[in-house]
C-alpha cells in the first residue's frame, strides 16, 4: 500500500518553457523512508510541494492516503502531510518555541487544554522541552529544525517530507536531526520522504529515487541504487563512505564483491580480509 502516489505528473512553472516534472509516476510505500536525490533543478523540491498541494500540476493526479490532492481537499491534505523546509529561520512563525509548535494547532482550532499536552509531547519527542520558552534568536539551526519537526509531529501527520532540511546545518546539528528521524522511523507511524544531497542521509533511508531533468531515472532499495557509483557521480551527489571506499579499492585493482556496502559492512569486510 502506497502512502502517496503520483500518476503521470507534469509540472511547469508559469511563464517558463522548462518542464520541471515530465510525466512522473511514483509511489511512496507506507511506513518507509524514501530519499529523493538529483541535481539542483531536477524537480525534487517541486515534487515535495506538489504532494502537499502547495503547487498544482498541469497534468496528472496525486493521492495522499486515499485523498486526491485537489483544491477542495486542501485542508485534509495539509493534515496528513508535514513539510520541514530548508531554511530554519524562514519557517519559524512563533515568537517562542512553544508558540511555534502551537501555530499549526491554532490553525486547526485545537482547544487550548489539548494544545498544552500536544506541545509538551512533541517537544519531548525532539528533546526540546527545556527550551519551550526560548526565542528563535537564541537557538541554533539544528534546534530550530527540531522545533520545526516538533511543530509537524504535534499535528500528527502520516507523511513527513524533509526538503533539504539538514543542508543548512552544521555536522552536529545534522546528526541530531538524522537520529531523530531514525527514531521516528522505528515507530512505523510515518512515511518519510527526504530530499537531500547528503550521502549519510541517503544511506540510512529505505529507498532511493533518482530524479534527473524532470524524469525518474532510477528507483529502488538503497543498497541497489547506491551501488551504482557512476550514477551518483553523474548526478553530482555525495557518495556514502562505505561505497566510496569500495570504489577506491576497486580502482586500485583489489577485487571487492560487487554489492552495496554500508560503512559498518565495509569495516567488517576489511577485518575479514586482514
Amino acid at each position: 500500500m502506497d502512502a502517496v502516489t503520483l500518476t503521470n505528473i507534469r509540472f511547469q512553472y508559469p511563464n517558463t518553457n522548462q518542464v520541471i516534472l515530465d510525466d512522473v509516476s511514483l509511489g511512496f510505500p507506507q511506513g518507509e523512508w524514501t530519499t529523493i536525490i538529483g541535481h539542483n533543478g531536477s524537480g525534487k523540491s517541486t515534487l515535495a510541494r506538489l504532494i502537499d498541494g502547495l503547487l498544482v500540476p498541469q497534468q496528472g493526479q496525486i493521492t495522499v492516503g486515499s485523498v486526491p490532492v485537489t483544491e477542495e481537499n486542501m485542508t485534509k491534505v495539509h493534515q496528513q502531510v508535514g513539510i520541514v523546509f530548508q531554511n530554519p529561520d524562514n519557517q519559524f512563525v512563533g515568537a517562542t518555541v512553544a508558540d511555534d509548535v502551537a501555530f499549526g494547532l491554532e490553525n486547526r482550532q485545537v482547544p487550548r487544554d489539548e494544545m498544552q499536552t500536544r506541545i509538551q509531547q512533541s517537544l519531548a519527542a525532539v528533546d526540546m522541552v527545556e527550551l519551550a520558552d526560548a526565542e528563535p534568536a537564541m537557538l541554533s539551526g539544528g534546534q530550530k529544525q527540531r522545533v520545526a519537526i516538533a511543530g509537524i509531529l504535534a499535528l500528527e501527520p502520516k507523511i513527513i517530507i524533509l526538503d533539504e532540511a539538514t543542508s543548512m546545518l552544521d555536522p552536529a546539528g545534522r546528526q541530531l536531526v538524522l537520529n531523530l528521524l531514525q527514531q521516528l522511523r522505528t515507530q512505523q507511524k510515518y512515511t518519510i520522504i527526504s530530499i537531500t544531497h547528503d550521502p549519510a542521509e541517503m544511506a540510512i533511508a529505505d529507498r532511493v529515487v533518482v530524479l534527473d531533468q524532470g524524469k525518474i531515472i532510477r528507483q529502488g532499495p538503497v543498497a541497489k541504487v547506491l551501488q551504482d557509483v557512476k550514477l551518483l557521480q553523474q548526478i553530482g551527489v555525495g557518495i556514502p563512505a562505505g561505497q566510496a571506499l569500495r570504489q577506491a579499492l576497486v580502482d586500485r585493482g583489489i577485487s571487492v564483491p560487487a554489492r552495496y556496502f554500508t560503512e559498518q559492512e565495509m569495516v567488517e569486510w576489511l577485518c575479514q580480509k586482514l
Partner: protein, 268 residues
C-alpha cells in the same frame, strides 16, 4: 549589535509591575497620557509625577536604565523646548533678536511641553521595560477585538505584528552580515559626509530587502503547509490572565484620577 538599553526595550527582571496583565499596563499607560493633558498647575503636575515615580519604583528597573532609555530622545526634547522658548510670544518680553524672542508665556509653555514630553516618554518606557513586546501585542489584540464587528481583520493584524516582532532580530542579524560582507570588499561606512554615508547604506539595504522578500515567500509557503488559512477562525495558545493585582491596580488608577481632579478643582 550594542547591548545598551535603548528606548522601548524590555528589561527581563521580576517585579510586581512585570507580573501585571499587559492589558492593565496598556490601559494604565494610555490613561496616564490622557491625564497628563489635564494637569494644569504645579500641584496636579507634581501629583502625576509622583504617581509615575511610584510606578517606576514598583518596576524595579533602575533610574539609570530609564535615563539610558531616554537619552537618545534627549535631542528631540531639547530642540522642541528651545524652539518653544524662542518662537512663542505673549506676556512679558525678556529678550529678542530678529524673529526670536524670549517671553514669559514662551517660558511657561516650554516648561509645560518639557514636562509632558518627559513624563509621557518615561511612562511608555515603564510599559515597554516591564512588558515583552509580544505581550503588548496580545494586549492590543484584546483591545481590538470589538473591531471584529466592523470587519477589521484583527487576527491577521495581530499575527502580522507578532511575525514582524519575531523577525526583527533575524533581520538585524542579516544586516550585520551584509555590512561585514561589504566591509570585506573595502567599503568604509565611517567615511565622508552625511550624503556619502547615506549613499553607502544603499548596498546594504538592497540585499536586505531582496532577502526579506525571499524570507516572506518562504514563510508564506511554510505557513500554508501548516494549515494557515487567513479566513478561518483559529484558537489561541497564549492566554491573558486577569488577577487580583490587576484589579487592585485598576482601583489605584481610579484613585490617582480622582485625586488629580480634586487638586485641579481646588478641593485638595
Amino acid at each position: 549589535m550594542n547591548n545598551k538599553i535603548v528606548f522601548g526595550s524590555y528589561v527581563p527582571i521580576d517585579s510586581p509591575l512585570h507580573r501585571l496583565d499587559p492589558r492593565m499596563k496598556l490601559l494604565m499607560c494610555v490613561w496616564y497620557v490622557v491625564l497628563v493633558f489635564f494637569a494644569n498647575s504645579w500641584g496636579t503636575s507634581l501629583w502625576l509625577l509622583a504617581a509615575l515615580l511610584g510606578a517606576m519604583l514598583l518596576s524595579r528597573v533602575s533610574l539609570r536604565q530609564y535615563w539610558q532609555g531616554l537619552r537618545p530622545l534627549a535631542w528631540v526634547i531639547v530642540f522642541t523646548v528651545v524652539f518653544q522658548v524662542l518662537f512663542s510670544s505673549g506676556g512679558k518680553l525678556y529678550w529678542h533678536w530678529g524673529i526670536m524672542s524670549i517671553t514669559h508665556d514662551g517660558l511657561v509653555n516650554s516648561l509645560i511641553i518639557f514636562y509632558r514630553f518627559m513624563v509621557i516618554i518615561t511612562a511608555s518606557t515603564v510599559l515597554t521595560a516591564t512588558t515583552p513586546t509580544l505581550r503588548i501585542a496580545d494586549g492590543l489584540d484584546w483591545f481590538m477585538r470589538p473591531l471584529k464587528f466592523l470587519k477589521v481583520p484583527v487576527n491577521q493584524i495581530t499575527l502580522m505584528l507578532s511575525i514582524a516582532l519575531r523577525f526583527i532580530p533575524t533581520i538585524m542579524d542579516e544586516a550585520g552580515k551584509i555590512t561585514n560582507a561589504q566591509r570585506s570588499r573595502g567599503m568604509n561606512f565611517h567615511q565622508g559626509n552625511l550624503v556619502k554615508r547615506v549613499k553607502h547604506l544603499v548596498p546594504v539595504l538592497i540585499p536586505l530587502f531582496v532577502n526579506s522578500f525571499k524570507r516572506a515567500e518562504d514563510l508564506a509557503t511554510a505557513m500554508e503547509a501548516r494549515g494557515y488559512d487567513p479566513d478561518s477562525p483559529r484558537t489561541h495558545f497564549r492566554q491573558l490572565h486577569w488577577r487580583g493585582s490587576d484589579t487592585m491596580t485598576f482601583i489605584l488608577m481610579v484613585l490617582v484620577t480622582v485625586i488629580l481632579f480634586l487638586i485641579r478643582g481646588g478641593l485638595l
